[in-house]
């Protein structure tokens, strides 16, 4: 597939500045090499008609089974820094081997007292939600998220030019990607998916076709943020111009397929503490650039999204956090009219989350539980794990993902039948 080709192209483009940096390595105070080898093995715990077909549930289809080696190389000096993170993957679940991915490869330039730049492949995050994203429109990897990979793999690397300028305690950030990066979504191989054209849950053979956006500057993404402090309370304003992170547009065809609609958004957030509670509020307006007035039933309507979160520590080893998230769709009456009264969603879609964290044995054992409940969609997703650090360099993780919903087209309902448990063993060096 094109994955290998693009990887190779990106390799050339991205390694150039890194090699240049390495050549002048004598200028750097320190070069650091580290990494890990990791085995991840996930196993489905329920029968899935789409994946198992008419056969018995045999446990033969693993959503994930891979051995990954990661190498990290970094260095820096007074002026600049570079960072390289390469993953080598041998995937025995999908019978693919020696896949090489550059997860990160960037240089950081300290251009002036008030200006720095981070250029190359990198992960980027902002916003205040806990596993809920309102203003963070950087790419995600939902396959990794649902199949037992370490949480950092939820962030999908992007090729970005990122500039940060500082004035007093205010920070101005700007990020530009010369092409669009779509979220990594289940394709029907590791996890079954819902095909809206067939109205049923399918495997990759019957997956709906998604027309990708070309790697062209017409499809560039622009991200911005201005942030600062009011006392110890953090405020941020966000802006984005690009595309929805997922293929939410229906192209009637023939044959009918999915496409990625245009998006622009603007939002704000606040985060601070009230007594022992950490509180965050965030909101954004999603401007559906091709259909702001909601006239085209094949393109998502504009919407307002928001969340409120609260977190606190209990005693010395417990943390409890909860969030409420709402997606208020514009021109709901038009959706109702277009779908002859069965819109398939509520005007306001509510989701709540709960997180519980507990550490034991000198923090060498950590228990994490996180639940999403779609109050309107009537679906849920519970994820949990226990991490055990045998030593600084050896970590065992046991976890599970429990996904279910009443309807096959909702956020989590579309992945029902894919619940799994996993084991992960990581040796670091």
């Amino acid at each position: 597939m094109s994955v290998h080709h693009t990887t190779r192209c990106a390799l050339a483009v991205l390694t150039a500045p890194i090699i240049a940096a390495l050549v002048s390595a004598s200028a750097f105070a320190e070069t650091n090499l580290s990494g890990f080898a990791e085995l991840t093995h996930a196993m489905r715990v329920e029968k899935n008609i789409a994946l198992d077909g008419g056969r018995k549930f045999t446990h033969r289809k693993y959503p994930r089974g891979d051995i990954r080696a990661q190498l990290r190389l970094s260095g820096g000096g007074e002026r600049d820094e570079y960072f390289l993170r390469i993953d080598m993957l041998s995937d025995y679940a999908l019978n693919r081997s020696e896949e090489l991915t550059i997860r990160e490869g960037y240089i950081k330039l300290y251009l002036a007292d008030w200006l720095d730049a981070k250029i190359g492949r990198q992960v980027a995050t902002w916003g205040t939600g806990d596993l809920l994203f309102v203003n963070d429109l950087f790419a995600k990897d939902w396959v990794a998220f649902f199949t037992g990979q370490e949480l950092s793999y939820l962030k999908k690397p992007q090729d970005l030019v990122r500039l940060s300028a500082y004035k007093g305690s205010t920070t101005f950030e700007f990020a530009f990607s010369p092409y669009y990066t779509m979220d990594n979504l289940p394709t029907g191989r590791r996890l079954s998916i819902f095909n809206p054209f067939m109205g049923q849950t399918v495997n990759y053979r019957s997956a709906p076709y998604v027309s990708k956006r070309e790697r062209a500057v017409d499809n560039a993404e622009v991200f911005g943020r201005i942030s600062g402090y009011a006392g110890a309370t953090e405020w941020s304003l966000y802006g984005y111009h690009g595309f929805y992170p997922q293929p939410l547009e229906v192209e009637p065809g023939p044959p009918p397929h999915l496409a990625i609609p245009k998006l622009a958004s603007g939002g704000a957030s606040l985060r601070g503490s009230i007594g022992a509670f950490l509180v965050n509020v965030e909101g954004a307006y999603y401007f559906s650039r091709d259909d702001n007035d909601g006239d085209n039933p094949l393109i998502p309507n504009s919407s307002v999204r928001g969340l409120v979160g609260i977190e606190r520590n209990l005693g010395t080893t417990w943390t409890v956090a909860s969030q409420w998230f709402a997606d208020f769709v514009r021109d709901f009456d038009k959706i109702v009219a277009e779908t002859s009264g069965s819109p398939g969603r509520d005007e306001i879609d509510h989701t709540v989350t709960l997180r519980i964290r507990k550490s034991l044995s000198q923090e060498t054992v950590r228990v994490n539980l996180f639940g999403f409940w779609g109050l309107s969609a009537e679906d849920y997703y519970l994820r949990g794990n226990v991490e055990y650090d045998y030593s600084d360099n050896l970590r065992l993780t046991l976890g599970g993902n429990w996904i279910d919903g009443d309807q096959p087209h909702t956020m989590f309902g579309q992945f029902r039948g894919n619940s799994n448990v996993y084991v992960r063993l990581r040796r670091s060096f």
């Binding site: 580290s34 992960v123 949480l151 500082y166 920070t171 950490l278 520590n313 010395t316 030593s391």
Partner: protein, 270 residues
């Protein structure tokens, strides 16, 4: 002569054992003054500084884990607010992870964590000061200091330790429910005001934790505790913190302790 007065004060206090805690404090202002000096010497030396820290955690089987980080400190006021910045270098998994703490003398601290692998700035809820600092036997309170005024401090009879006369203070929390100990005894070197040893006791009078200062060096004319060990006698787990490359030159301004610093280490660490 002075010690004679102190002794008599202590004897006098013996009769007041049943009285309210704050009364003790009023009766022995010297003890509070001594503890304040010690607190100043251990946590507020100069106006800030930096150092490289190696933290060794050893469990009862003798297995050890190691953390290494740089710590920067800038004081806003003596015995008052302080800003801390921590940049981890070991273990390799957490390399480049940073923590920012705005310590408030009054009220909860503000704390942020930066996780570079996801480029995430996470705000951390105010934690119980008795929580462990990065899984060690030192609590957050041990690392950034417990204000002596939170305790009733009594001067105990002077003792001799390794041939040196030392000041001994017993501190009893004014709000026992908010403390991890029922009382503690501190042995102080009167020459440099630094503690030599601290022992923590529970309600039953059982020794639960012991902190020792293992090494003192004079840096920029300031006596500095270069190595401290905390032993948890209940679990037989111990932690040693060793400082190297200590400097009292204040590299970071107080207003630099912000998100920018979390994501971009100071030039001296690059």
């Amino acid at each position: 002569m002075k010690s004679a007065i102190r002794k008599s004060t202590v004897v006098g206090l013996g009769a007041l054992v049943c009285a309210a805690g704050f009364l003790y404090a009023q009766e022995t202002p010297d003890a509070l003054a001594i503890m304040n000096q010690t607190h100043q010497a251990l946590y507020y030396a100069a106006d800030g500084g930096k150092g490289q820290v190696t933290m060794t955690l050893t469990d009862k089987k003798g297995r050890s884990r190691e953390r290494e980080f740089w710590m920067f400190r800038t004081d806003i006021a003596d015995m008052g607010d302080q800003n801390y910045y921590v940049y981890f270098t070991k273990p390799s998994d957490v390399r480049r992870t940073t923590v920012l703490t705005l310590k408030h003398a009054e009220g909860d601290d503000d704390r942020w964590l930066y996780i570079p692998s996801v480029d995430l700035v996470k705000r951390i809820a105010a934690s119980d000061t008795r929580s462990r600092f990065v899984g060690s036997d030192f609590t957050y309170e041990d690392v950034s200091g417990r204000l002596p005024k939170l305790d009733n401090n009594e001067l105990m009879p002077e003792e001799e330790l390794d041939g040196k006369k030392v000041t001994v203070v017993k501190s009893t929390p004014l709000e026992p429910k908010k403390a991890s100990f029922a009382w503690k005894i501190t042995w102080i070197d009167p020459a440099n005001k630094l503690p030599i040893k601290e022992e923590y006791f529970d309600k039953k009078g059982k020794l639960i934790r012991r902190m020792t200062v293992d090494k003192v060096e004079v840096i920029d004319e300031i006596p500095t505790a270069m190595s401290r060990t905390m032993v948890d006698l209940k679990s037989n787990h111990s932690t040693t913190i060793t400082f190297t490359s200590v400097s009292y030159e204040v590299e970071l301004e107080a207003d630099q302790y912000k998100e920018r610093l979390l994501k971009n280490p100071p030039a001296s660490l690059r």
